[in-house]
């Protein structure tokens, strides 16, 4: 299982990648939407953890672009805006959101559920 983490907060995303790898999860990092797309061209990722707000390309824009390259990829969104108001926005109604700061166990559980939804 290959994971890609995308956030403009470089230190945060690096640390998250290290912690995931300590738990036996293989995570790549990208610091922007463009970088993520480059990496997706080379590697087949199963799941992407995206920050909602990033300079240039937002998380949602990136999702649509990644889906074109990797149709089977799953998404988890991370946001610094506390709770996210999903009501009334059909684009977001299906998505999984996690608030910063993240609980590592919740993140791993969510990843597992996305990969193996029937478990």
């Amino acid at each position: 299982m290959k994971i890609i983490l995308v956030d403009d907060e470089t230190k945060f995303i690096n640390m998250l990648a290290r912690r995931l790898s300590l738990r036996g999860l293989d995570a790549d990092v990208a610091y922007s939407g463009e970088q993520a797309l480059e990496k997706a061209a080379q590697t087949r990722y199963d799941i992407a953890v995206l920050d909602m707000k990033m300079p240039g390309m937002s998380g949602l824009a990136l999702k649509n672009k990644l889906l074109k390259k990797l149709p089977d990829i799953k998404f988890i969104f991370v946001t610094g805006h506390g709770g996210v108001d999903k009501n009334g926005n059909s684009d977001l109604s299906e998505e999984i959101f996690l608030a910063k700061p993240l609980n590592i166990d919740t993140l791993i559980d969510t990843i597992q559920q996305q990969i193996h939804p029937h478990k």
């Binding site: 640390m15 707000k53 910063k100 590592i104």
Partner: protein, 587 residues
């Protein structure tokens, strides 16, 4: 402090005088000096309503005094001429009686004492007032006498009255005492005997009769009526001047044989008038001047009393009106104050809620700004914990120190944000401190750092090197800039520009220009943007108070604000502020 609605409803009497002064609240009042308004309103009302009353009273008093004066003159004139006629008649009658006697009877029968006594008795019966009669020859010796005094053989040659009476046909003397020590008047007629020699028929008159005649015209004790001679000596007793023969200090009036009424000049408050007439009979002038002094007070007592009563009533009315005017003014000004106060309180609440709304708008950005370092702290500490949990060799000092530094850095990032937030602690009263405009702008822009990045907004700040630190209210300036910059950010589309230019306009003004390439404001809206509750932002996004409050704040900082905008191109707000804010009471 904000008053609670309960406090507001308690409509205190004289609240405008005794309310607790709150400079911030007062700045929202329409009128500032309520005691002054109160006093002016009382004065205006009092002057407009009382002056006609006072005028009417004055005119009325003048009329009363005038009519009293003319009435007094009239009365005095009447009394004087009546009394004069009586006195003249009294003297004339007696003089004519003597004339009749000398014309009727020959000299020889007159010098017969017995005959003379008979004549005296007849005169007393016919006219009264005669005391005695005597015949005096041209040498001054008394040749016959009839009367109660033993004056036979007396010689009057040296007496002045004798000399005077020998010079003309008729003579009337002053009142004098003579040989007999009793006040009397001499009247004498001159005639010629059979030898062609002059002789006098002299009669003395009882002064009591004359006094009675004069006094019979004295209607009351406010009238003084008396006779004086040409040198001012009293000839009859006077209420004012005393007994008979008392010299008076009266100015002897100019001769007039008709009745005259004058108002003496030394008579300051014109409290009396003087009527006079010289008494002159057809045959002879007399030494008498008839004087009538009539006092105004109580002669016209009714009139004056009426006037006085009228004045009291008017005075009382004025007092009542003053009380009503004062109460009404106080009530009105108080109501005005209370209305103004509640308006000011509403405005104050609006300002506060706008401030809260403004901070609310910021909160999303702030949450993001704080959550990012928090997330980093979370992951880093989590990783440190993981190092102990998953690795047997946790003592990798270099890595740990690096991680700890990351945490510290993230904490200080959070600290910066919170300290900037604390800068928005509300300060309502103007508190002057030295403010660096550049730092203030940088602080506000830092709240929008992420937004700038996401939207790709190009922000430039150009601070002219000669811009001094300004003395002003930090909190208010911060809110002004925050409002304007927030508005700019909301208007700017992706990849827009925000240019903030601060320049110094010597000698003592600075200008802050905030220029955005946003949607701009249409011309019709431009007229209304400073109105409260005017908003083009739909659905809860704006209170419509931001710019109205901003305009108010700029005014409080003694500055001005100007806006230029063209739809679709952008908007420029220019705030001009004094370098040194004058305190309100100095300004």
């Amino acid at each position: 402090m904000i008053r609670t609605p309960q406090m507001l409803q308690k409509q205190e009497w004289l609240a405008f005088l005794f309310h607790r002064h709150n400079a911030h609240l007062a700045s929202f009042h329409t009128f500032s000096n309520y005691p002054r308004i109160w006093i002016i309103s009382i004065i205006i009302l009092a002057v407009t309503s009382l002056s006609p009353l006072v005028m009417a009273t004055l005119i009325n008093n003048r009329l009363i005094h005038k009519s009293v004066d003319s009435e007094l003159v009239l009365q005095t004139d009447r009394v004087t001429s009546n009394a004069k006629r009586s006195v003249r008649f009294f003297l004339e009658e007696r003089l004519n009686a003597l004339r009749f006697v000398v014309n009727e009877l020959p000299y020889y029968s007159l010098i017969d004492n017995e005959h003379l006594t008979k004549i005296l008795i007849n005169l007393k019966l016919g006219f009264g007032g005669f005391t005695d009669l005597s015949i005096i020859d041209s040498d001054g010796s008394q040749v016959a006498y009839a009367g109660p005094f033993n004056l036979e053989g007396k010689n009057y040659k040296t007496q002045s009255w004798f000399k005077q009476s020998m010079e003309k046909d008729n003579f009337i003397s002053e009142v004098f005492t003579g040989y007999r020590d009793v006040p009397h008047i001499i009247i004498a007629v001159r005639s010629q005997n059979a030898y062609g020699r002059y002789y006098l028929l002299r009669a003395t008159l009882d002064t009591q009769r004359l006094m009675d005649t004069v006094l019979s015209y004295k209607s009351n004790f406010h009238t003084d009526i008396f006779l004086i001679n040409h040198t001012g000596i009293l000839q009859t007793p006077s209420t004012n001047y005393g007994k008979i023969f008392t010299p008076t200090q009266i100015d002897i009036p100019a001769f007039s044989d008709t009745t005259q009424v004058i108002t003496p000049e030394n008579n300051k408050d014109k409290s009396y008038v003087v009527g006079y007439s010289y008494i002159a009979t057809e045959a002879v002038t007399t030494p008498f001047i008839l004087m009538v002094h009539k006092k105004k007070s109580e002669v016209m007592g009714t009139w004056l009393n009426l006037g006085k009563t009228f004045n009291w009533i008017i005075g009382f009315c004025c007092l009542v009106m003053m009380v009503i005017i004062t109460l009404v003014s106080t009530y009105m000004v108080n109501q005005l104050f209370l209305a103004d106060q509640s308006k000011a309180e509403t405005m104050l609440k609006m300002e506060q809620s706008q401030q809260l709304a403004c901070i609310g708008q910021l909160s999303a950005g702030i949450a993001h700004e704080i959550n990012n370092p928090l997330a980093l702290i979370n992951e880093t500490t989590g990783y440190l914990k993981d190092l102990y949990h998953y690795k047997d060799t946790p003592r990798d000092d270099k890595e740990i120190i690096e991680l700890l530094n990351d945490i510290l850095e993230a904490v200080s990032r959070c600290g910066t944000i919170t300290s900037q937030l604390l800068g928005f602690v509300r300060q309502f009263d103007v508190q002057i401190s030295s403010v660096n405009v550049e730092q203030l702008i940088t602080g506000i822009l830092s709240f929008h750092k992420k937004e700038t990045e996401y939207k790709g907004i190009h922000v430039t700040t150009a601070i002219a090197p000669d811009v001094p630190d300004i003395k002003t209210d930090r909190g208010k300036l911060q809110q002004i800039l925050l409002n304007l910059i927030n508005n700019a950010f909301q208007a700017i589309e992706v990849n827009g520009c925000l240019d903030i230019t601060v320049s110094h306009l010597p000698p003592n003004t600075i200008s802050i220009e905030i220029k955005d390439t946003g949607c701009g404001i249409s011309e019709e809206n431009l007229q209304r943007i400073h109105e409260p509750f005017f908003s083009t932002k739909k659905e809860r996004k704006g209170t419509g108070l931001g710019l109205s409050i901003t305009y108010g704040l700029v005014k409080k900082l003694q500055g001005s604000i100007r806006v230029e905008s063209s739809e679709g191109v952008g908007t420029i707000f220019t705030v001009t502020l004094p370098v040194k804010l004058q305190k309100e009471d100095e300004a």
